[in-house]
């Protein structure tokens, strides 16, 4: 009896210890199961907070007067406040209710403090981000803000609103993601709002690897050929600032043959790679350089059916759940009445409209980063760097990395020159100057712009805006339309931003910035419309000053300009349709070359082969990327084969145990230039031994290979497997990349080069679509992929995705007062009261 009791006791003790352990401590990726599974306070509580209460009154510390928040049936809060600070406080509170985890995830991303949330696995990422200096810059920028300025006070009020929500969290209000991570929400600091603006700057302007790849290209084929393959100016010109030409201009120049390898460039590329170390983007260079394919355009009243200015915008960013944007309407009677999207964490509408003006952004993509090779006084513990034979002090900043529960994981000392963060790796030191780290006027600009009454006022308000540089399009109620690429554009000392500079000379430093008066700009153009799609902003014939290089191929710009030129009675619905229009300027240009190559071959030696079969299939194609299209896939494979066969000279040495990778892939605009040079030596595929190919031979071989690959993968042409919606999908991943919380495999209309572009993993796309008609009453339509709530169980989590996929927009409600809202459209009312 005693023996069995002992055994039973031992077994029970072991089980108890094990269960207590998994209950109280995290085990692998699992959170502590006791807190997690607790039926009242654990993850199950989350189910009780999915939907908005019909009516709720909450006391909010710091409010000067009551604020009424009315959520309409799309989940959009209309915030009616008496003061700007109250509006910001209410906005912080409301956004935190819907997006608290996203807010924390994003500020931690920018600050390099993810280890505290997700554990030691994020240490490398945190080190990488802190090395970029985003937090360092945000903190300096915030400290420099006059604390009594309206912007600083509103940022502080926003933080108070967020913290009021955090302080009052009940177990059911703690978002699911915290439960999964076994974490608790941390309090919100005002500086986090600035972190988020830095994060946008990082997303949109950080292009370190492009410089490295360009150097590798030069190392491989020499300077002359590299300059032609990665040109400063786009070979196809249809700039944002209209150049007076009605059609795109093709500046196709002969591409010099590959030159001898450039050993100096090779050494410098190795040095740059060594110095940048973890900052190098390891994504495969086989694809054309990744770009954010945003669009915006505006049409003057004389070209619209309604006789009123129209504006459309669809910024393309990483698609995430929750979405990057939060839709909101802020009203302060007599002062502010602005509708649009804010980034959760920022107390301002970023893209939107008020009663008089509408605006939207696309990314400018200017070259706003330079690197300087620095000489330090000590390779191990430097405290100074040499400039013009004088030693200058380095700023040092000790960074501590902490894990769960505040456990210290690592410590680094980051150093900064007067230019920016210093990166030291393998005894080489580079400092980086980057406009994003120097930005200062974004919050002030956005605040003022929301109050502008005309295009001119809006432009003046945004003159303080520095980074990330954006192509800002505008329209107002008087019918004026305008566009301006706005931001800090460095004046590089030698007129180029492509070199790593000698940090020992102050002459290497930027000579200043472009004055606002020289920004690419157009207002009330004769053509009656304006458009930007990330193309080169200004025709180099109009201003040859270096602004950047390697501009995205302007296929989308060509397409939207063609659509707008052809339509002199544009309607809001046409604006909507254009946002997902399936036509493709890239296909329009390249397809005839494929077909002509087959025709020429047939006329010569005759052809019955697969190239002819592929050409017949493509000849019947309408060049549209609709979901039911069954030919676009063949064209895309042919384009992929064409790039692979054409750019064989750009293959680097084979990596150990693997195949050789291209060091650089020229843009399809450069390929378009080359395709007009049929005898160029670039067409020869060196891998085919003693055969010398010309353009037609490569086009034919590409078609043959494409047909074979497509048939292998998707079956026969009319078997149903070639439908575009079976091939091309958008994938909207949750921030934690958990498939169960993501929306994956969404069929989309559009492909590479379309106005609604889709390529690669499908994880980028139109993050917001908006159309505004600026009549006596402003009308607007909008959608974004996701929903207002970050709660996966909420009916507002993914409620907009179906319409987004279909290219549809919702009409938005834009009431002047709470009483203007029809009761049937009101989903919830939140009354925020000052604390007594």
């Amino acid at each position: 009896m005693q023996r069995s009791a002992l055994i039973r006791g031992a077994v029970s003790a072991a089980v108890l210890a094990a269960v207590l352990h998994v209950g109280a401590r995290r085990t692998g990726p699992l959170p502590p199961l006791g807190d997690f599974l607790d039926p009242l306070r654990g993850v199950w509580a989350v189910a009780g907070s999915a939907e908005l209460a019909e009516r709720e009154a909450v006391s909010l510390p710091g409010l000067e007067a009551p604020v009424e928040v009315i959520f309409d049936d799309r989940g959009v809060p209309h915030i009616f406040a008496s003061t700007a600070e109250d509006a910001a406080r209410a906005l912080g509170h409301v956004v935190a209710r819907d997006r608290l985890f996203q807010m924390e995830f994003r500020w931690r991303t920018a600050a390099g403090r993810m280890t505290e949330l997700v554990g030691e696995d994020a240490l490398d990422f945190d080190r990488y981000v802190r090395g970029l200096g985003l937090a360092w810059s945000a903190e300096r920028e915030f400290a420099a803000l006059d604390p009594n300025s309206p912007a600083a006070r509103e940022i502080a009020a926003y933080a108070e609103g967020v913290n009021a929500w955090i302080d009052g969290l009940s177990p059911q209000d703690v978002p699911l993601e915290y439960r999964l991570l076994g974490a608790r929400p941390s309090r919100w600091e005002p500086v986090y709002s600035v972190y988020l603006l830095k994060l946008m700057g990082w997303d949109l302007t950080y292009a370190v690897t492009t410089d490295l790849r360009r150097l590798r290209l030069q190392a491989l084929v020499g300077k002359e050929a590299a300059a032609a393959l990665a040109p400063v100016n786009s070979p196809i010109q249809q700039p944002i600032q209209p150049n007076g030409e009605r059609r795109p201009r093709f500046d196709f120049a002969p591409i010099p043959p590959p030159g001898e390898p450039d050993r100096v460039a090779m050494r410098r590329a190795d040095a740059l790679q060594a110095a940048l170390g973890p900052l190098v983007d390891s994504r495969a260079p086989e694809a054309e350089p990744a770009t954010f394919g945003s669009n915006n355009w505006a049409v003057a009243p004389e070209r619209t059916a309604g006789g009123q200015a129209l504006l459309a915008g669809d910024p393309h960013l990483a698609l995430t759940l929750p979405a990057i944007w939060y839709e909101v309407h802020l009203v302060i009677p007599g002062e502010l009445d602005v509708y649009g999207v804010t980034i959760p964490s920022v107390p301002y509408v970023v893209i939107g409209f008020n009663r008089d003006v509408a605006w939207s952004f696309t990314n400018t993509g200017a070259d706003v980063i330079d690197y300087y090779e620095e000489e330090l006084d000590d390779s191990q513990q430097p405290s100074r760097h040499r400039v013009d034979d004088q030693w200058r002090p380095l700023e040092a900043r000790v960074e501590e990395y902490r894990g769960h529960g505040g456990r210290l994981l690592a410590t680094d000392t980051l150093r900064f020159t007067h230019r920016g963060p210093l990166i030291t790796h393998h005894d080489r030191s580079l400092s980086m100057r980057w406009t994003v780290l120097e930005g200062a006027g974004e919050t002030i600009g956005l605040r003022r712009a929301a109050r502008a009454r005309s295009v001119e006022e809006w432009l003046a308000a945004m003159e303080v805006y520095t980074a990330p540089a954006q192509n800002m399009i505008l329209a107002d109620r008087t019918g004026t339309i305008a566009i301006r690429s706005t931001g800090s554009f460095p004046l590089h000392p030698d007129g180029s931003g492509l070199e790593v500079r000698d940090g020992r000379m102050s002459a290497s430093d930027w000579a200043g910035f472009w004055p606002v008066a020289r920004y690419p700009f157009a207002i009330a153009p004769q053509q009656g419309y304006l458009a930007s799609a990330n193309q080169q902003p200004i025709d180099p014939r109009d201003d040859p000053t270096y602004l950047g290089a390697d501009w995205p191929s302007p296929w989308r710009a060509i397409r939207i300009n063609a659509l707008l030129m052809a339509d002199s009675t544009v309607t809001p619905d046409a604006m909507r349709r254009y946002q997902t229009e399936p036509g493709n300027a890239r296909a329009d240009l390249f397809l005839p070359f494929f077909l002509d190559a087959v025709r020429r071959q047939a006329a010569g030696e005759g052809s019955e082969g697969p190239a002819r079969e592929a050409a017949e299939l493509l000849a019947a194609w309408d060049r549209r990327y609709t979901k039911d299209n069954e030919r676009a896939v063949l064209f895309e494979y042919a384009m992929s084969e064409l790039a692979n066969r054409t750019w064989d000279e750009l293959l680097g040495s084979a990596e150990e145990g693997g195949r050789a990778r291209r060091v650089y892939t020229p843009s399809s605009a450069v390929l378009a230039s080359l395709i007009h040079q049929p005898e160029s030596v670039w067409w020869d595929d060196r891998r085919t031994g003693d055969v010398v190919e010309d353009r037609d031979a490569i086009l034919l071989a590409s078609l043959e290979a494409a047909l074979e690959r497509v048939q292998d993968r998707y079956g026969e042409p009319d078997g149903g497997g070639w439908r575009w919606d079976k091939i091309r999908h958008a994938n909207i991943y949750h921030l934690l990349e958990l498939p169960a919380l993501s929306a994956l495999g969404l069929p989309v209309q559009g492909g590479p080069g379309n106005l609604n572009p889709s390529s690669g993993r499908g994880a980028y796309g139109a993050s917001w679509r908006m159309v505004v008609e600026l009549g006596p009453q402003v009308s607007a339509w909008s959608i974004y992929p996701g929903g207002q709530s970050g709660h996966p169980l909420s009916s507002r989590y993914v409620d907009r995705i179906d319409k987004w996929v279909a290219g549809e927009l919702d009409p938005v409600l834009f009431p002047r007062a709470p009483s203007d809202l029809d009761d049937s459209r009101v989903a919830s009312v939140l009354e925020l009261e000052p604390e007594r």
Binding site: M1, D38, A47, A740
Partner: protein, 122 residues
């Protein structure tokens, strides 16, 4: 009948202490039960059953306030398990805690009792 009443009372005790103090109160209540249960009854089985019953009742109450099964399905997706397994885990966890705590204390008590008897008889 006595066992039914014990089950209900013990479930109620687990339910209340969980609601008031949290999950870690489970082994404490189970240990007390293990110590107090009439010897030589095997208290761990009832402790496990009652703990699972208490948490099931709390989950059922929670289900009236929100889509609990939908949440279970999402959690199942996150952990690559069927949703019902997650719910099952939420019942197995308290059951194991209570079973082991009650079993440990009961075993200790049995050992001590046997020793005392042996000392008396020896």
């Amino acid at each position: 009948m006595k066992r039914l009443i014990s089950w209900l009372l013990l479930s109620l005790a687990f339910l209340l202490t969980t609601a008031l103090l949290g999950w870690w109160a489970l082994p404490v209540v189970a240990a007390v039960w293990g110590a107090l249960a009439a010897y030589p009854v095997r208290p761990w089985r009832l402790a496990a059953l009652s703990a699972a019953t208490a948490w099931a009742a709390l989950l059922a109450v929670g289900a009236t306030g929100g889509p609990l099964l939908e949440l279970a399905a999402i959690l199942g997706g996150v952990f690559a398990l069927p949703g019902f397994v997650v719910v099952l885990l939420a019942l197995i966890f308290p059951a194991l805690l209570a079973w082991s705590a009650a079993g440990l204390v009961a075993a200790l008590r049995a050992t001590l009792t046997e020793r005392a008897r042996a000392a008396e008889s020896g």
